[in-house]
Symmetry: C2
Subunit: 206 residues, 2 copies
DNA sequence: TTACAACCATACACCAACGAATGTAAAAAC
DNA sequence: GTTTTTACATTCGTTGGTGTATGGTTGTAA
């Protein structure tokens, strides 16, 4: 095949990553060959091995396209003067919306449910990294809420943070296992709202 | 090799399953060959193919040894006259204790984090089955709690059930990702107690 | 314009794992 | 005591996937 222009080459790379998302999600990482990914993208394995060193390198590049730190989600939706609990609420909703996009949904489902570790890739370490990042952000907000007297007196912010993080983690796992079972945004909003309402000192609000 | 007695044959079958638990957990299901499992058990692949049809059949047999329906956990620990919330509390604790046993820990960690679907095995269907079983049981208890006036008036039993189930699901996923990170029993007890306390109408009780 | 290098296709060698076939010695059935 | 079956071990053909080497065409910089 002829040499492409730089833009075309970049498009090829993106097409390979798109194809990897789809085939990894459908067949699982271990059960997909680089040949299948190449064909899905209308290329051959030569293109794959040109743009990526191997399957692990391709997988890593695929993940790099779908990062979303919690602080970023909050900054996108919550005004700077929002209360800590409102910031959490809005950040979660933004996360639900993003996760419902096909790209994020497929990649995260692949990470959580369709890949084991292989060669030098450790999906659990990546999961742990994201979970801890979220946990740290939630802890800051809930500590602020505590300081502002928004939480129940008998609720430790540390415990509340772990509780909320476990709820979110379970929600994501359950939804990504079968995205047709329920609406992530609706149920997620319902659960987060309820959980934060149970956390708060003032029962009437929310 | 000489023929074994029936008891010895059953012992080799168990040894193969034990070996499968260990190697699947260490290497991941996709990355372990039947040869590795056989060698771990001190056998050859001939033994494996005698007792099991293929890797999927072996995997399924491995899972069959670690079932624990929620009702069974409750029946083992809670007296028949316990309140619904107390039954949930005790059932969860019993589940945490069981899950901390090496066998259950390894198998569930393998199911959740170390296997993709392969051939005719669908791990997510098995996860969903267990999750739904637990969800159904929790719903019954929380409906009873509602009927007995134990829940907050502003809390729907359905929502509470989903909230608790998501929390448990997230807790298991997070712990099985790194069982050294924290004690499942301690944190699990803490989270469940807190969650149920937030659910209940009477805040003073423990 | 020319030469190089980017970009991708094609071809090839290699290896690990599967599954089936076969061998076999002892246990169990008669 | 003989036969049959069990419970494996061993061997072998096949296959699917990987990584690399090589070829070929064309942007692109000088």
């Amino acid at each position: 095949m002829a040499r492409r222009t730089k833009a075309e080459a970049e498009a090829t790379r993106e097409a390979l990553l798109d194809a990897a998302e789809e085939v990894f999600f459908e067949k699982g990482v271990a059960c997909t060959s680089l040949e299948q990914i190449a064909r899905q993208a209308g290329m051959t394995r030569g293109a794959v091995y040109w743009h990526f060193r191997n399957k692990a390198d391709l997988f890593r590049a695929m993940l790099d396209r779908v990062r979303m730190p919690f602080e970023e989600l909050v900054a996108e939706t919550a005004p700077s003067d929002a209360s800590p609990l409102e910031a959490i609420r809005l950040g979660c909703r933004q996360g639900f919306r993003r996760m419902e996009q096909p790209r994020h949904r497929r990649v995260h489902a692949t990470l959580l449910h369709r890949c084991e570790f292989f060669s030098d890739i450790d999906p659990q370490a990546m999961e742990a990294e994201m979970a801890n990042e979220c946990l740290g952000a939630l802890l800051i907000y809930l500590n602020n809420a505590r300081d502002q007297g928004l939480l129940r007196d008998d609720l430790d912010p540390d415990v509340a943070t772990r509780l909320l993080q476990a709820t979110l983690s379970g929600l994501f796992h359950d939804w990504l296992r079968d995205t047709e079972a329920f609406s992530l945004y609706e149920r997620g909003t319902q659960l987060v709202d309820t959980q934060l309402r149970l956390f708060s000192r003032d029962n009437t609000s929310g």
